[in-house]
């Protein structure tokens, strides 16, 4: 059953349409990540859910209650901000208990809650410190603690890890995942980092230009993107996209003409009408380097060695560069000519409107 339901949510600024009809339902206990390029409306959507921005159309329902017009303090949500937004003049203990004190909770109860939250976030030793005496990671934990202590219905995170250094970010990401497991509370998380989205989320919501592009589990988005935008956004390194010059329809297969090379695709796998033009999308790990034969040939421009694997940037005959994942031990030299084999089963086809062309999965 849906816990948080957003229906046709609109947000207009003076001369900018930031949210263009968002429809989304989130079930209780889910970890949902909003991801998208900057300016796509993901933060606006989160702030509208929080009540920090007013919507100009549509409704938001939480746990069976319409909260669209409700003040943010009455919505029973807690938010962790990008800048942490700790109260600088209060100690850690006062920061944690601020909301409880405003709600006139009894002293004994406040102490008990602050104690248990600070214990679970390892803040015990820091309770009497002011925010400016804390490190970035500690401030982050206080900000999370301040949200937890209120036991809200939903946690909102607005790019909480973007101010931390890379090592700490990975550590905090794990802590957040653990926290979600432990608390089981619904969490909504905004980020522009697709790795954070993939690792944390139960479901990822990809936003583009104020609209939802696709919603799904991380693997669904990775393997079955709806559009070229999602395909390019998810996955590092990016998916390779090669436009076909021409499609020849044969009896039981389509032949894609890629500047002289050809790829044969079984026609029966295409759902609906057979396309007349297409862009062939293929991820780096579904391409492999072969001694001879292969579907494409090119010249190695650059090799990125990552230790466990290597990414070869290969210039094709039409000067387009594609990325191929290769075994690390392969001896690859710059300028070397290579043959590339395409795993046709894993090809994703896009039409002229950048939408995906539906295919029937290869029978196992």
């Amino acid at each position: 059953m849906s816990y948080l339901t957003i229906t046709d949510l609109q947000k207009h600024y003076d001369n900018y349409h930031a949210l263009r009809g968002i429809n989304l339902s989130i079930t209780e206990g889910e970890f949902v990540v909003f991801v998208g390029p900057s300016g796509c409306g993901k933060s606006t959507l989160l702030r509208t859910i929080a009540g920090l921005e007013s919507s100009t159309g549509g409704t938001i329902e939480l746990d069976g209650r319409d909260i669209t017009e409700l003040a943010s303090s009455k919505r029973d949500l807690a938010m962790v901000f990008q800048s942490y937004a700790l109260y600088p003049h209060m100690t850690v203990a006062d920061n944690l208990s601020f909301a409880l004190r405003l709600a006139k909770v009894s002293d004994a109860e406040i102490q008990e809650k602050v104690r248990s939250v600070s214990a679970s976030l390892q803040l015990d030793a820091l309770l009497e410190r002011k925010p400016k005496e804390l490190s970035g990671g500690q401030r982050q934990r206080v900000a999370i603690g301040r949200a937890i202590v209120r036991q809200p219905k939903v946690f909102l995170f607005d790019e909480p890890l973007s101010n931390l250094d890379a090592a700490l970010r990975v550590q905090m990401r794990l802590e957040l995942a653990r926290l979600h497991k432990k608390l089981g509370t619904t969490m909504i998380y905004v980020t522009h980092d697709q790795v954070e989205a993939m690792t944390l989320a139960d479901r990822v919501v990809i936003l583009n230009a104020g609209q939802i592009e696709q919603v799904g589990t991380p693997l669904e988005l990775y393997r079955k993107p709806n559009s070229r935008f999602v395909a390019e956004f998810i996955g590092t390194p990016k998916m390779n996209l090669i436009p076909a010059d021409k499609i020849t329809h044969k009896a039981d297969e389509l032949v894609f003409d890629l500047f002289g090379h050809t790829i044969h695709f079984p026609a029966k796998r295409i759902k609906g009408t057979q396309p007349d033009s297409t862009i062939v999308g293929i991820r780096p790990e579904h391409l492999s380097l072969v001694e001879e034969g292969g579907d494409l040939t090119g010249r190695i421009e650059l090799v990125e060695h990552l230790g466990s694997e290597a990414y070869a940037h290969i210039q094709l005959l039409n000067d387009q560069t594609i990325i191929v994942k290769a075994a690390a031990r392969l001896e690859l030299k710059d300028g070397q000519e290579v043959h590339i084999k395409v795993d046709v089963d894993e090809i994703i086809l896009f039409d002229d409107n950048n939408k995906v062309i539906s295919v029937i999965p290869e029978e196992a």
């Binding site: 949500l77 901000f81 800048s83 937004a85 700790l86 003049h89 601020f98 301040r146």
Partner: protein
């Protein structure tokens, strides 16, 4: 070698500044220990503490000191309290915000003499002042502000002059307040008053300390407003220490006693500064 050259190069300005301070101070100390009146410039023998005794035992002295302190504290309270409230009021964007800000700040550009004349003649005059007109239209007797409430009148004028300074400092400080903190408090269930009380006021602690300190320096030396409007009267009701020293030196021609008064004013300023720094100075170091 390098250090001595730096010292040598700095010496002219340091010596000049030192002389700038030392010469008037030593002359004041010298004058305060001799007999020196503009009536009898030839008679100037050493008199020891006599000038100080004369100045302190003057019946006007106690009222001048208390007037100085009342003026100082009243104006500080009015400008800080009103300043914080008005700044918070005009912090959120509204139509004509820029214009209102300019209007609020503009009294600061008016020189004290003109300020006092405006209040004396346009506002507080019992015959054709605006206050008199308001009282009359409401059916009350007009009040002769300058003779009935002389010190209060001075306080109003000086507050009007210094409120813009406080607003200028506070408005700038409010702009640097973090909006995410306010939003976080909002989500924590804080009302506008809570945010003002627990976030804005602590945020303004340092600017308030700055305003109090800077204003104190100038408020201890208020002079033009008194000279132009009440002339220190009636009696000594609106005479402060600065005005009393002027009175002694240039109206009663007793330069020696005035010098002694000047030194007492320095002592008073130090006492005030001592307490002020203890009270608000801790906000500056944090």
């Amino acid at each position: 070698m390098k250090r001595s050259i730096t010292r040598l190069l700095m010496a002219p300005s340091v010596i000049l500044l030192l002389a700038w301070m030392i010469i008037p101070l030593s002359m004041t100390i010298y004058f305060s220990t001799i007999e020196f009146s503009s009536y009898n410039p030839d008679q100037n023998g050493f008199v020891g503490w006599l000038n100080f005794e004369f100045f302190i035992t003057d019946p006007a002295f106690i009222s001048a000191v208390s007037n100085t302190l009342i003026l100082l504290l009243s104006v500080l309270i009015i400008t800080v309290v009103l300043g914080v409230m008005l700044s918070a009021l005009i912090d959120k964007p509204f139509f004509g915000q820029g214009m209102v800000r300019v209007l609020l700040i503009s009294p600061f550009f008016i020189m004290p003499t003109v300020n006092a004349l405006i209040w004396k003649n346009m506002m507080m005059n019992p015959v054709y002042g605006i206050f008199a007109w308001i009282s009359q239209s409401l059916g009350f007797e007009p009040i002769d502000w300058l003779s009935t409430y002389p010190l209060m009148s001075i306080i109003i004028m000086v507050s009007w002059q210094w409120l813009p300074f406080a607003i200028l400092v506070f408005v700038t400080a409010l702009q640097s307040q973090d909006t995410e903190q306010k939003e976080a408090a909002q989500m924590d269930g804080a009302t506008g008053w809570h945010i003002f009380r627990y976030l804005t006021i602590p945020h303004l602690a340092r600017p308030i300390a700055v305003v109090v300190m800077i204003e104190t320096i100038f408020l201890l030396a208020v002079f033009a407003e008194i000279l132009v409007s009440t002339g220190g009267g009636p009696g000594y009701d609106s005479t402060n220490l600065t005005y009393l020293i002027y009175n002694q030196a240039l109206l009663q021609f007793d330069v020696a006693a005035a010098s002694a008064g000047g030194l007492l004013a320095v002592v008073l300023a130090n006492i005030v500064a001592f307490f002020l720094i203890r009270a608000v100075g801790k906000n500056l170091t944090v």
